[in-house]
Amino acid sequence: MTTDTSPGSAPDTDAPSAVPDKPVVQRGDRIFSGSATAAGVLILVVLAGVAAFLIVEAVPALVAPAEDIPGGHGLVAYIAPLVFGTLVAALIALVVATPLAVAVALFITHYAPRRIAQGLGYLVDLLAAVPSIVYGLWGILVLAPASVGLATWLNEYLWFIPLFAGPVSSTGRTMLVAGLVLAVMILPIITAVSREVFLQTPKLHEEAALALGATRWEMIRMSVIPFGRSGVISGAMLGLGRALGETMAVTIVLSVSGGITFNLIGNGNPATIAANIALEFPEATGLENNTLVASGLVLFLVTLAVNSLARYIVNRRREFSGAN
């Protein structure tokens, strides 16, 4: 496309005065680029469609009188505990997973022997491949019973913190366990993003730090962490987005009954939005359907905001890093 001036490069142009800055467009080219563009636009249409159809289906619940909404106290009263439950579970996951993921990413990039580092990376990625239903079954059968001892201990010694006020659930199907399962599920995402940015740290920075006599940890603290901080933040936010929307693991693990409570180790927990939809939707009819779609719309907007912010941070960083 750039060599129009050289003779014979474009044999299909008869006119010698062909304008060089307007390349020849064949019919095949037009069809091909047209369909490629159409596919791209289709994606935008689908995303807009997701929002539009959710809104259309949610409207009956938005305009319905308060006493018709399940629970009988209006839409806000129905969704508020669900939003609370969603946020608590996602926050537990985030608090547990982020430091662990940063450490794992550091291990893979800077501590593991280089020959096996990539293999170890695959191993952590495998965590992301396990279907969420399997995590749910594992959570209720293995993690929940194993957590009872920990919960009892927390309740015994830290009862003055409202989070561990008790009474302790004997089954272990608590908010704490749901959050831990979510933490396992978002760990690979945060690790993958952190690993990527840690690897992008300019080698010269690292070698300069080591040459000045820094220990490995001092080198990491001085060159790797400052460079990767925004990447870690956005990775954590991507993880948060996943944790907010994760459905089946929470549906299976969490024992749902009751409203807002700060007690993380008890029997009565608020559901999360996603888990509530999965629990109620198969048997829902009429206005219940619309109410559930409305709660789904709330979830969609929250995750959309979180993910957009995360992507914005990643993209802004990419432009200034100069790593490419």
Binding site: A103, L106, W217
Partner: protein, 362 residues
């Protein structure tokens, strides 16, 4: 190990600048100090636990804590604060990695352990029609999963690859940037929301209460398209520009260049990315739960009526087992095992494709 480089470089710095603060000559722990400290910690904690009552979890945690604290104190006395901190961080980071692997192995061991009970021929050949209690299988669910995933793949792969081609080869300006951004955002759509979208769409088209396999496939492709776009885009980007320019210089039109040069070069990577995307959606439960529902019998027509799928089958077998519960729970675990095998196989195939047919750039 790169501990040696580390030690070497700091030795070098000490020689070059002996007066630097904090770099004064200090003793150094011998290289066997670390394993020795670990062994000593294990013995100490093991001895203590032998008195109070043994538990594997407490033993491992206790050993690591005693090891970390002990080595830190030892190193602090002999080597100084900075080296001691370095050793402490190394222990913390390494144990964090090991902690992260615990759930992976625990999940695999649990699922294989429970799932193997019903991993028999009957499970793969029978449906659940008319089954109460013992027996039955997930033939109908396996077929449902394969049909719906195939449909989703058929819808997602052309759209995804064409979008990637647009972004890499044609896209410039605001539209391309918008598509890139929203594809990224789309990867974060919760799967249940994708399911609700499909339900809302088909409720408007077919009336309330519509459940059909195709709706599930639509929901899955909403989740799958962004993954296909991202991976294909990465693969197209690493095709060297020289190849394109050589084709252009020979007078080949752009679309033929893409079809005959760019795509053949990157086909292995694209295929591997598509396989990963299939692996991602084949285990999705929530969207299928709300769009496809469940049946006990075989339904091979995705455009009419409820179908059964493996993840939903596992969910209902576990949460609504009936009386007696054991046979149903066993089926749930075997379904989970089959699912995990499918996903791992797809991942393995993807890696193999990527490795064996790596883009030939030279």
């Amino acid at each position: 190990m790169s501990i040696d480089t580390d030690r070497h470089s700091s030795d070098l710095a000490t020689e070059l600048a002996p007066d630097l603060r904090g770099l004064e000559r200090r003793g150094q722990l011998p290289s066997w100090a670390t394993p020795a400290a670990l062994g000593a910690a294990a013995v100490v904690v093991g001895g203590l636990l032998a008195i109070t009552g043994f538990s594997v979890g407490l033993f491992v945690v206790g050993t690591v804590v005693v090891f970390a604290v002990g080595l830190y104190v030892l190193s602090r006395v002999v080597e100084g604060r900075r080296k001691a901190t370095d050793r402490l961080v190394t222990i913390v980071v390494t144990s964090a990695f090991l902690v992260a692997l615990v759930p992976l192995f625990s999940v695999v061991i649990t699922v294989v352990g429970y799932g193997i009970t019903r991993f028999d021929a009957q499970f793969f050949t029978n449906s659940m029609r008319g089954i109460v209690g013992e027996g039955g299988g997930a033939y109908h669910a396996i077929m449902g999963t394969l049909i719906i995933t195939l449909l989703a793949a058929v819808m997602s792969i052309p759209v995804g690859t064409l979008t990637a081609i647009y972004l890499v080869e044609y896209g410039k300006g605001r539209l391309a940037r918008a598509i890139t951004f929203f594809v990224d955002v789309m990867t974060g759509i919760p799967s249940i929301v994708a399911g609700l979208f499909a339900v809302a769409l088909f409720t408007l088209l077919l009336g309330p209460g519509a459940r059909l396999g195709f709706a599930g496939a639509v929901a899955l492709s909403v989740l799958m398209i962004p993954v296909v776009v991202r991976s294909t885009e990465e693969m197209l980007k690493i095709v060297p520009n020289e190849l394109r320019e050589a084709a252009f210089a020979l007078g080949v039109p752009k679309w033929r260049t893409i079809l005959k040069v760019v795509i053949p070069t990157s086909i292995a990577g694209i295929a591997s990315g598509v396989t990963i995307a299939i692996a991602r959606v084949i285990g999705e439960t929530a969207p299928l739960l709300v769009t496809v529902g469940i049946t006990t019998g075989l339904n091979l027509n995705p455009f009419d009526g409820r179908m059964s799928t493996l993840p939903v089958f596992a969910y209902y077998s576990y949460t609504q087992p009936g009386v007696p519960p054991e046979p149903s729970l066993d089926r749930a675990w075997t379904a989970a095992l089959v699912l995990i095998i499918l996903v791992m196989l797809l991942n393995l195939v993807a890696r193999l494709i990527a490795r064996l047919f790596a883009p030939k750039t030279r």
